[in-house]
């Protein structure tokens, strides 16, 4: 069994609003699948369907080959999850909150100490949950998701509220779990940089539709590169370049831009042309689209302006 998380044409409506439509995806064993989308794109709805919290209007979801349905509780033994902001019983301590999950999952008593140590919650173990900072509440949420050493992790915005050191720590932890222990991670986020660093594959969801799936390694190839040129007189430069068959368009700040792959690979051609034409460049740069711009271009916002 290589495909651990599978969805087939998941569709869910809330009255006349389509939350998700025809979402089909699969996540392979040991993969970290980044589920990327703006707020309200349908990430949490998809995750709640995967966890059996809501039923799709049509389509199916499978975890470890088993169909997600109300009475199939055995499938949650090896699944850990965190949905949206993690809340805990406010009057219970960190340890007591973990005790609840330990009891529910029939785990050994040591599991609480182990996870407290792993997520560096020792100083807060006896603090009641309502007095935890946002970052530590998030750690407690992650501790509840990881306490049983799951094979599958479904995490909705897990780094919300964590400081940069905490984000780094959790990223390292998840990457280690996936790479060294074969844990399959499905992680949703709207923080593009975070997903790019963590995920091995990214699915982009927009307005309830999965609009693209891409391997993170291939992402660089998909990001557009453009040549930017500035001169003292951009009008003359643009006309000079056009006469030689190179079409440039001015950006909002007057810089000339071209997506022509030939020019992107050989900017020296443009430099020679402008120097010989008496309009030498004051700036010549190849700019690569970052993930944020790529994402905005893919979902059709701002036309992917760099």
């Amino acid at each position: 069994m290589n495909e651990i998380i599978v969805t087939e044409k998941l569709t869910k409506h809330y009255k006349d609003v389509t939350a998700i439509s025809d979402i089909s995806l699969n996540v392979r064993k040991g993969e970290i699948y980044g589920f990327l989308g703006l707020n309200g794109a349908g990430k949490t709805t998809t995750i709640r369907i995967l966890l059996g919290m809501i039923r799709p209007d049509s389509g199916n979801a499978y975890i470890n080959g088993q169909r997600v349905e109300k009475d199939n509780i055995g499938m949650w033994t090896q699944t850990g999850y965190l949905v949206e902001v993690p809340y805990s019983y406010p009057n219970l301590t960190v340890r007591e909150n973990l005790e609840i999950i330990r009891q529910m999952r029939s785990l050994h008593k040591n599991s609480i100490d182990n996870i407290i140590e792993k997520l560096k919650l020792q100083p807060y173990a006896n603090r009641i949950a309502k007095n935890l900072s946002l970052g530590n509440a998030q750690r407690l949420g992650l501790a509840k998701a990881l306490i049983h050493k799951p094979d599958i992790l479904i995490l909705d915005e897990p780094t919300n509220g964590l400081d940069p050191a905490g984000i780094f720590e959790i990223r390292e932890l998840l990457m280690d779990m996936a790479a060294n222990h074969g844990v399959t991670v499905f992680i949703s986020s709207h923080i593009l940089g975070e997903i790019a660093r963590l995920a091995t594959r990214i699915g982009i969801i927009h307005e309830g539709k999965l609009i693209q799936e891409v391997d993170t390694q291939k992402l660089e190839q998909l990001c557009q590169k453009k040549l930017q040129v500035n001169t003292i007189n951009p009008k003359i430069a643009r006309s000079l370049l056009a006469q030689n068959g190179f079409l440039f368009t001015p950006s909002e700040d007057g810089v000339l831009e071209s997506l022509n792959p030939e020019l992107v690979s050989h900017p020296e051609k443009v430099a020679s042309l402008l120097v010989n034409g008496g309009c030498p460049p004051t700036m010549l740069a190849v700019k690569e689209e970052d993930l944020e711009s790529y994402f905005l271009r893919i979902i059709g916002i701002n036309g992917g302006v760099l």
Binding site: L51, M53, I73, W76, Y81, Y87, E96, I101, Q103, S106
Partner: protein
């Protein structure tokens, strides 16, 4: 069964740490103490005259004997119980929504029905404890103010009747559990409790009390043969069916509804 035990342990841990538990215990100590005080006032005509409105209320205790006293206690548990037990059930189910911890219970290797059963067991144990506190304090207060005619055998019969009314009231917790789940919080079930309490009074007055579930414990608490105030076999069936429907509705809601 193992799952149910684990779920019960969790529910009792939540209860142990909640301030609400001790607030309800305090209230159920305070109320019978007030009854004892009223009884004391009713036994002292001079004091009753001096206390105005309180003195007038104290007259409601009527005969200064254990029968009269238990008459008041029985009617009280039928109404105070409806509110108190309703509040307990609202809190047990509704706080999972107000604390936003509900989602932590939905994808676990424990059936949701077991969680619902555990919650109702905790509700019943909590309510029983309140009833016990109520009756112990009430009897102690009655003995302290010196109600005449103590007879252990007779008092046992009165206590048995009191517990029967309390138990009938407890059976009406289950629909509250449903409204707490359906309403995703504490406000909707408390609203439901208030509406049923008002309707129970209205149905009692209109003679339909024996057929309206929330009026049945109150009707049972009134001894006598007044027409429209006598329970029939159908009354007990209605009460049990309401309780089963409330439990089934709650369990089905947890199992089948979309949990956002």
């Amino acid at each position: 069964m193992k799952n149910l035990k684990a779920t019960l342990i969790c529910e009792f841990l939540k209860l142990k740490r909640s301030g609400i538990f001790w607030i309800t215990v305090t209230l159920f100590i305070f109320i019978p103490m007030m009854f004892g005080l009223m009884l004391y006032i009713s036994q002292n005509p001079d004091l009753m005259a001096k206390l105005g409105l309180i003195g007038t209320k104290a007259k409601l205790f009527g005969e200064n004997d254990w029968n009269g006293y238990f008459g008041i206690l029985n009617q009280s548990i039928a109404t105070i119980g409806l509110i108190g037990f309703g509040f307990v059930t609202s809190w047990i189910f509704g706080s999972e929504y107000t604390n936003r911890t509900m989602k932590d219970l939905l994808a676990l290797p424990v059936s949701r029905t077991n969680i619902v059963i555990a919650k109702f067991i905790v509700a019943i144990v909590w309510c029983l404890l309140l009833v016990l506190v109520f009756i112990v304090v009430a009897v102690f207060a009655g003995r302290t103010v010196g109600i005449s005619g103590w007879n252990t055998e007779h008092i046992s019969r009165l206590i048995y009747r009191f517990f029967a009314i309390a138990f009938m009231t407890m059976l009406l917790c289950t629909p509250v559990g449903f409204f707490a789940s359906y309403g995703r919080g504490i406000i909707a079930p408390l609203g439901f409790v208030i509406v049923t309490l008002i309707l129970a009074q209205f149905m009692g007055i209109s003679g339909l009390g024996p057929y309206f579930p929330w009026a049945i414990p109150g009707v049972y608490s009134v001894t006598g043969t007044v027409p429209g105030m006598v329970l029939t076999t159908a009354s007990y069936f209605i009460l049990i069916i309401t309780s089963i429907a409330g439990f089934a509705g709650t369990a089905l809601w947890w199992r089948l509804a979309d949990h956002h």
